[in-house]
């Protein structure tokens, strides 16, 4: 932005230098586009042909063959995976939004002994990498006989300290006076959370919800470990089962992958207006 702005600014004095700069900026942008969009275009092109090779070939974009998109519903359990993914991602998102905003509200607003140390411990858990927790979590899930259940996919995802942190920071930007006014108007703590804090947190909730949904939608490692049956298999581990022993139907794999992106895209389109507010650093509650 600033580079382009500087280019425009200079153009009045030094047209030739400005032109060179413009070209350089656009070249860099084109390169960035290629790197970002290239694999997606290739994936889409591959999904439109019957192929067992990974050859780079964009001809299918001109003469598309949608057979793979029909096959994923018949040859694969894509419908089941999609339903499972939706169940898990939506449940986790809804529960995280509720739990993390409630916890964030408590950490932002309530005064109680040990609040700050507790919050520090919560933040410290952010430092623990996921693979470290895999084994104990698996043993835990096994002990509770949760393997191949939705609970095994949902429960561990609910412990999300980053979400609590995010919501606490967001809620801290809402003026305390609103809580006081609500208290005098006759609301309980939970009433304030529901009627005042939550409605004002919508941008923050949108960011958190979107991020949670996205990470659940793409989650591979843990579902691969705890769901071994088709009944609870979600899309990412499902996709991982497509490669055959001797040959991989790349067209089919690509079609399934592309199809799995659509729900995510839909969510993005619906929530993007909140996202801009959410990333914009809280909300102004001053009139």
């Amino acid at each position: 932005m600033s580079a382009a702005g500087a280019g425009v600014f200079q153009s009045a004095r030094n047209p030739r230098g400005a032109k060179t700069k413009h070209i350089a900026v656009y070249l860099a942008l084109v390169l960035a586009c290629l790197v970002t969009a290239g694999p997606i275009v290739l994936l889409f092109a591959t999904s439109l042909k019957q192929t067992y090779t990974r050859a780079i070939d964009f001809n299918s974009l001109i003469r598309p063959d949608f057979a793979n998109y029909r096959a994923i519903w018949t040859e694969l359990q894509f419908g089941q995976w999609l339903m499972n993914s939706l169940i898990v991602a939506i449940s986790v998102t809804v529960l995280i939004l509720f739990l993390d905003s409630l916890a964030g509200y408590v950490f932002a607003r309530m005064r109680f002994r040990g609040r700050d140390p507790l919050f520090a411990v919560l933040l410290a858990t952010l430092m623990v990498p996921l693979p470290v927790t895999l084994l104990p979590l698996f043993l835990f899930a096994n002990e509770l006989r949760l393997i191949n259940t939705f609970q095994a996919l949902i429960y561990p995802a609910l412990a999300y300290p980053m979400g609590v942190f995010m919501m606490r920071q967001f809620i801290q930007t809402i003026p305390d006076e609103l809580d006081d006014a609500a208290r005098i108007d006759g609301m309980s703590d939970f009433g304030i959370y529901v009627r005042v804090i939550l409605p004002l947190c919508v941008p923050g909730l949108a960011v958190l919800g979107l991020y949670t949904f996205m990470s659940q939608w793409g989650s591979l490692l843990w579902p691969l470990i705890v769901s071994t049956s088709e009944r609870t298999r979600t899309i990412p581990p499902g996709l991982a089962t497509i490669p055959g022993q001797f040959a991989t139907n790349w067209g089919l794999t690509a079609a399934a992958t592309v199809s799995s992106l659509f729900p995510m895209l839909l969510v993005f389109v619906v929530f993007q207006r909140f996202l801009r507010q959410g990333f914009g650093g809280g909300r102004s509650t001053k009139g």
């Binding site: 006014a181 005098i184 108007d185 006759g186």
Partner: protein, 367 residues
Amino acid sequence: MADIAIHRLVKMFGAEPAVNDISLHVADREFLVLLGPSGCGKSTLLRLIAGLETPTSGELFIGGSLMNLVPPKERDIAMVFQNYALYPHMTVNKNITLGLRLRRTPPTTIKSRLGRAAEWLELAELLNRAPRQLSGGQQQRVALGRAVVREPKVFLMDEPLSNLDARLRVNMRAELVKLHRRLGTTIVYVTHDQIEAMTMATRVAVMRSGIIQQYAPPLDIYRRPVNKYVATFVGTPEMNMLPAVVRRNGETWDVVGAGIQLSLPQTWQPSEAIGTDHEVWVGVRPEEISILPNDDEMPGLPALIDVVSPIGGTTLVYALAGHATIVAEVPSGLSPAAGDRIRLAFNPTGVHVFDRQSELAICGCRA
């Protein structure tokens, strides 16, 4: 009946007392202004009355009932906040009526009270707007409306006018006085603005460091400040303070200081026995000082005019006398100029005397 009785109230924040052993009785229908600089504990005291803070010790009664553990919503109070604290996601209508709806007030009552408040505060046109679509003054009126429709026993106001521009503030002051007269409710009002205190209060409590310095009707505070702090905090420009001694002169007392030689009126007698040449602060309000020509025949303190500030009806004259700058407020007809040598004459009945050590008034004048 909604008097407020506060008995030895203490609120600690960590080791610091924000409210330090305050006892106070606010009569029913009183308009009490808690006046003090920021950090003096006035807002904390208000929040204690509201129930937004729990006292560390002491007792608080509203209308004769002990309120220490009663939640805010059951205290029958309404509060107006400095930043208005309107719910940004609700319309003006919902902001005003939320408190009533939460109390399950019958819809017809809500409607009639909303109608009355909207008419009085000229909000009828704005009821369906969001707070962010309103100007500061309009938001202020909505905040008042929210308090008024509740018809509470006690109104609490935390610097409600401080975010308004000067003209609107003057208008709202008059509106609040009218509101008080019309509703006849007890009002506790927090401000650091002494003009607000003087113009609206029936009683003022001047606070400092969590302690009430003086609790009296506004003019009493102005005329008979109990200590040097109250004397200088109330009044603009602030009271001039000069070091001096008091000396017995037969039946009366004289004030003697650098260039000052002044006989106090006969009514001035120290409240307790003091020795001669007792060290004091002499306080004189600017309007109690007159300017005389610089003539050896004339009494008064020789001074050199430093700055002359006309403020319309009167003129403020800043004069240097020794190391002290003394402010005098004189009729604008007099037109002294900077650099003039003059004599400053203090009206003896307008002189306040404070003990140099304790800073307490030794005796009020104009008794």
